[in-house]
Symmetry: D2
Subunit: 393 residues, 4 copies
């Protein structure tokens, strides 16, 4: 069986998720398209990299990502670093002829994303951007219903992504609050997942109109580099630094196909943890999904008899997308890991079968264009038309 060597750049929380997927994917999807080998992991120091290799089961480690990118043994470069390094690594990896999977958002701006897209196209390598949440089986089931026409023409999409880990003003100033490193705040970090849902399930977005707010203007400067997502509170006397990204945004959107909708995201919504939801109304039915209860999809079909019509709570399992490979009964438990395992499966399949995979850098770029437009709309208070901004592949 074919093996593909992975060089993973980054050993934090997201590296853990990807490492688990490399180890677990063939256990779930067998025969696997290829066996991913955890070849080399990179972290910022030799010591951290060595620790990551032991922890995550990589054979080698390095603190020099450039060397790894150029290592002829490596087939795939996996980018799980903060946003400001995605472009540089991806472009170098493309030039070295590596297939690339990058964490989201693809880049800090559409312009930056475009350089990455151009690079992978020129190199002719496979590329994917890790909007893993669309690989939740319940979301893939929603896609299936839509494609089968079971809810009819879509009228409305409403998506939210609400968390609360940054609601406390004492949660530290991680890179996620700094424009220079992150590009944007809630928008790039979590809002892009909702934009990905909107494009995946409904289609291209043609116009956006937005509000963006920064609720907490400064936060305690954190000492170490580790990204604790709000769990470590600052001491009282820690100096503070400026937050220059959005804590929250809210949009109206219009789709090319005539549907309308809204998207909002914030990390300051007390009581919401990973409240990534969508509600879709079609001419023949409706869908509702909440990732916090991710084993479930709710669907209502208009052609059910009036005495027994209502949202059905469908728990995904073997009868649903990806179900054959996952667990033998519904609700045994889809976790974060499974979304990454499916993502890895689809990416490796695209490499072995020489097909494209979605979402790829083209999608990542278009999402970046939409993200830029959201910030521009929020600043100017006007609708931004995307059709003219987007460069279709």
């Amino acid at each position: 069986m074919k093996k593909l060597n992975v060089g993973m750049i980054g050993g934090g929380f997201m590296g853990k998720a990807h490492a688990l997927a490399y180890a677990g994917m063939p256990m779930f999807f067998w025969p696997a398209p290829a066996i991913p080998q955890r070849h080399t992991v990179v972290d910022v120091t030799e010591e951290l990299a060595k620790d990551a290799a032991e922890r995550l089961g990589f054979e080698n480690y390095s603190s020099d990502w450039r060397k790894v990118v150029e290592d002829p043994e490596i087939d795939i470069i996996d980018i799980v670093t903060p946003n400001d390094s995605h472009a540089e690594i991806a472009i170098a990896a493309a030039k070295a002829g590596k297939h690339i999977i990058s964490e989201k958002p693809l880049a800090r701006t559409a312009a930056e994303a475009k350089t990455m897209l151009d690079a992978v196209k020129e190199a002719g390598v496979k590329h994917m951007v890790a909007f893993n949440y669309r690989r939740t089986p319940a979301v893939a089931l929603a896609k299936k219903y839509i494609e089968e026409g079971r809810i009819g023409k879509i009228l409305n999409f409403r998506g939210t992504y609400l968390q609360d880990w940054s609601a406390d003003p004492n949660s530290p100033l991680s890179w996620r609050f700094q424009k220079e490193r992150a590009g944007s705040g809630a928008l790039g970090d979590i809002g892009t997942h909702v934009i990905d849902y909107a494009r995946y399930l409904v289609g291209d977005i043609s116009e956006v109109m937005a509000i963006a707010k920064t609720w907490i203007g400064e936060r305690p400067i954190q000492s170490g580099g580790v990204d604790k997502l709000g769990t470590v509170k600052a001491e009282a006397d820690v100096p503070k630094g400026k937050v220059d990204v959005d804590d929250e945004f809210s949009t109206l959107i219009k789709f090319d196909n005539g549907a309308v909708g809204s998207i909002e995201a914030t990390r300051n919504a007390w009581g919401r943890n990973n409240f990534l939801t969508f509600e879709i109304h079609g001419e023949k039915g409706s869908l509702y999904f909440n990732y916090e209860r991710r084993d479930e999809l709710q669907v209502c079909f208009s052609d059910d008899p009036s005495d027994s019509r209502g949202f059905r709570t469908v728990y995904t399992g073997p009868a649903h997308p990806y179900g054959e490979g996952l667990w033998p009964i519904p609700a045994l438990g889809i976790g974060y890991g499974e979304t990454k395992i499916i993502e890895t499966y689809d990416f490796l399949k695209s490499i072995v079968e020489d097909t494209s995979v979605s979402p790829d850098f083209e999608d990542g770029y278009q999402i970046a264009v939409i993200s830029d437009a959201i910030l521009e709309s929020a600043e100017k208070g006007i609708w931004i038309n995307l059709t003219e901004n987007l460069v279709k592949a």
Copy 2:
């Protein structure tokens, strides 16, 4: 005990709800501020009016609302007719010195609402507009938490009102789909309840930005006048008439106090029945309410310990607003009737105690201004500033 004679104009579904409230209010709130007497009911023909009187327990009936409005025995005029007659009746009632409660929306346009507001102010009578949903005890509890500062400064309000009774293109062209009679569609019919929530719970709205859509452009012309809300489907060969109001709208909103948010409403969302919801994020907590499960309010307090923080599902009962008068334990069951009973209680109290009551015609007028602005924004694609449009009392 004081008695107040009611003349009710209209004997349809809403008349039923009000009649139940007149009969039931003293049973719940005792001693009642006054006993409402079902004196006279008006319907479009003598026959219908007679039937309404028997059915709803009124002592007299009439097909001439003008006579009733001028009847010296009548203390209160209750307007439960379609939107296009609210103004004429209310103005006449005000001139006759009657206290007035009108169904919502107050009028078809802000200009029309203004004439009503001016009339009641000049007459010095008590006035109320029947946004009954804010009298759900769980909503009053949300208000109490906010006023006590328990969720801190409000950052965001998201409100929806989703129904599905008009999702079927064969549901008939009732007056609710005709601009001439209704003023607007989902906006006036149900969206105004959400606007009322936003103003009640958060404060004055300063700017709106909206999309409005008419999904079903024509509907079968209905034979009778009764408003069946989608349950009666048309035959295949019934001629169709034009729908000239919104089936759906979606807005971004900004509040005077800096909070932002969104409001959307539609009667075309399969599977949603009376999905009147709000989610509010504050600096110290969050609230969530869904009228479909109206005995419950969900609240999250940020100062709960981190190992046991989460939304609390509070069932309203004797320990909550209006609870002493209602049922002896939570979840015995708040229905539509109870919201009307509380509304009647508060209105009669305002008459007897000579105080103002909210929402009054001033509120109804301001909501009409916001509604007009939503339609204007949807048409022009620009933010509409309300501060300058609103005439504060």
Copy 3:
């Protein structure tokens, strides 16, 4: 239209619910089978009775129930008193030829219930016992599905009734904790509603096996007679009295038709308010109902396709039992009052049409037999066979 004069014995919380139903029933179900007239209300003193009459809209009042029972103008005697007086009043009313509706449980023991059943049978009057919760439209819908065979042969019924108003040891010793007055505790007070569901939805119970527990052995003696259901806490130095009824019981049950199940009830379950639930598994589907969210019935049909099978959340409205008479769309709001309005409608219809109505005193008696058996089983630790105990009509 025919009028029926009601003499209501008792003016407490339950009297309020019944008075509302008398006033409201014709508003909902029209043409009504008859118009119930609130003729006379009885309370323990003249003063209380006068107050009840004003509050509840009765024309007359009395402190002497015997006189009212014998008043030739009265057609219906409505018993809304504590359990220890049901039998005496009902037997007198039957002898006087009155139709009777009695609050539940019918009596304190099966023997006592039998005397009532014998009396109404001998008198040939109409009789009903007010297990109103089965008249929740969602429960009637469950019955409809079962009768239509849509969930197949029933295998299992699990019912609960959980409240928390007596969980606090300082909630006072109302009559509901005294065997002499109440007969039993959680069993008679709330458990009988679940037994009624079991018999209504599944069929006759043949055997029971039970545990019963008294968790709080004594409670503060309350000063007044009003039944505050836990909301009034005792002062520290109030003398205590003995609780001699069950705080909780839990049973296994077997039905005549081969189904099995369990029933449990307690008023000591913190966080549960009116958690009256059932879950039913059949060969072709399942049902779930929770009265706390009473507008909804959940139903799963086995013959749905495997990719879209799951519990449907059906909100009851015009397309469901009693829906034509109630509110025009689902989830507008079924409250406690509506269950009583439907009950009143069915009772008056049975009088006017001279038909039987269910649940009647026969049902009330059989539930009393089951209740006695539950206590006997709990005491002896053995299965109690009911078939031999029950005297079928």
Copy 4:
């Protein structure tokens, strides 16, 4: 870092789950107590074993479990075979001095389980039985609340485990329906998980009273050995074989500490997938958990103010048990894999630190005693006292 070599006997669905845990555990809990090495996997043929090794990432494979058990390189024997082989393998492994983790139920009967318990005690090896569901973080949080006294003395425990994969009479006759291989039906397969919850959260069970039913007496004989849990339906003409185990059981239980409760389980409940739930009432609060929504624990504290008391929905994350090692925010997603990762962590820690771990073979044995008693009670219709049957460690 210490490494421990695992010999895993069985390569089916459960083998997959364990293999994922061996690969993933150090990624989550670091420094890990030891690194588990996937040394050898055993399946029934060389071909299947080879396939399992490739799929699950084992270095070696074998079709002879006895050889593997005696391989001096192996430290841990992991038993993931059907129930009828647990005892033979475990006893051999104990004799060979291996630490042992066995899938549940430990054995087909208490007598068989006792031979296993005796063997591991005599050998002095570490032993664990894989009731993984108690390692769901939300369940561990329930345990923490109870130990901290936050819900007070426990009064009642109600547990259910409902699935629907065997509700269809055409789902094949896997070994799970054969007493000879499985020992019992729903009881051993899933009911034991609830018994484990009851003992873990409340304490020792002293008496049981049960009903057991076999709803579907025969099923199509399946052709291959793979356990498809109902997803493969039989052709019409497949010969049928006898089911001689319970499809469903329901019990009343009494605990040593005075609490009471009930347990029920079935794989024939349409619409329930992995509905493993408990509700616990204590003197000071309540808990509710449903594994289908396993990121959440619901808890109600009686000492919350009456205006804001209700079940809190707590999503587990870094602030909760095992949270430091898992995902950085709540609701990112706990799946089945995470429960196995935690299980592996605790087992390896017990080996390295030479401590006991729970649930061990002693627990597995006691659960088998309770299971035997449930079947005996169901057969005889009497309460079975366990105190005398149980041999405490």
